[in-house]
């Protein structure tokens, strides 16, 4: 059951964007998912000349009936995958997704193992009773302090 759930989650993660890839997106959807190559911000945040030209191309392609995937593929062909706000979930770029998740998983397992180890440590020995003479002197000192 756990294995099937993990496989389902992994599939949803890897192909999360796929259902919308063929649908007609709005220009602003695409502008939020693409990065200006000169200023490194998403197109919707950029007014650089190349960003303005990219926005114009996006509108032209959408008007001509191109899909989100086709437009992204054209822009990646021109500028490389650095124009994608999220790295592709395939090939070498997949590492950008897998490595942080893998490290987080290793960290979680490590913390869990430490917590388990600590929970199984024997209780600390109870401290020996205080010497009656010392206890009386402490009480007297406290009485003087309160008085």
């Amino acid at each position: 059951m756990t294995t099937r759930l993990a496989a389902l989650l992994a599939t949803a993660f890897l192909f999360g964007g796929a259902p919308s890839a063929g649908a007609a997106p709005s220009p602003s959807d695409l502008e939020a998912e693409l990065v200006c190559p000169t200023c490194k911000t998403t197109l919707d945040q950029s007014d650089a000349p190349v960003a303005r030209r990219m926005k114009q191309i996006i509108r032209e392609r959408l008007a001509a009936g191109a899909t989100e995937a086709e437009i992204k593929a054209e822009l990646v062909d021109q500028f490389g995958s650095r124009v994608l706000a999220e790295p592709p979930k395939s090939g070498f770029d997949l590492l950008a997704w897998v490595v942080p998740l893998g490290l987080a998983a290793i960290g979680a397992v490590g913390v869990g193992a430490l917590a388990w180890g600590w929970s199984r440590r024997p209780e600390a020995e109870p401290s020996p009773p205080l010497d009656p003479l010392l206890e009386r002197r402490v009480d007297e000192a406290l009485d003087r302090f309160d008085g």
């Binding site: 000349p49 190349v50 490389g80 650095r82």
Partner: protein, 185 residues
């Protein structure tokens, strides 16, 4: 168990120190422009890029033996329009002396670049660096930027930031050409 943990931690620290030493000693952040700024003699970084003026690819190694004016530009860049006729004139004037102007179109659309070349009647070779890999090696700060490479592939003169042959860099431009051709000491 504790010893294994200590060994792993020490290994991690040693690896990070190694990375730091490598970064300080060998890192070329800032590309050739930064090295030129430190007064070093620098070979032109090699590249092989798709041509925009015709089919095929062009490598800067193919131009060894010629003086090369390497000009980074983009069609959306206004100062690039200003300098395009000057670069074309330079190419026509010095071509028979063995000088090539090489345009490197950067962060641009191919169709826009070709339209630009047509508009300014550019006949010198132009390559496409859409992905910016070559611009990174050269330490490009923006466009336009121009470098001068002599016949043996060494960068000479001062890089020109901004349009060439303007009031403030005319001397540097002419000196760069002369150095690339081997006509200046």
């Amino acid at each position: 168990m504790q010893r294994v943990g200590q060994t792993i931690a020490l290994g991690g620290v040693a690896a990070l120190l190694g990375l730091l030493v490598w970064k300080v000693a060998f890192d070329r952040d800032g590309g050739v422009a930064a090295e030129l700024g430190r007064g070093k003699t620098v070979q032109a970084p090699s590249f092989t890029l798709e041509r925009l003026d015709r089919e095929g690819q062009l490598s800067i190694a193919d131009l060894r033996g010629k003086a090369v004016v390497v000009n980074f530009w983009a069609s959306w860049c206004l100062p690039c329009r200003e300098e395009a006729p000057v670069l074309q004139q330079t190419y026509e004037r010095y071509r028979d002396d063995g000088l090539v102007v090489l345009g490197v179109d950067y962060n641009d659309f191919r169709q826009d670049a070709r339209r630009f070349m047509e508009r300014f009647a550019l006949t010198y070779p132009v390559v496409f660096d859409g992905k910016g890999s070559t611009a990174g090696k050269w330490g490009l700060r923006g466009v336009p930027e121009t470098f001068f490479v002599n016949r043996s592939g060494t960068i000479v003169g001062e890089p020109i930031y901004g349009p060439v042959d303007s009031e403030r860099n005319r001397d540097a431009y002419e000196r760069g050409i002369a150095l690339a051709l081997g006509d200046a000491p």
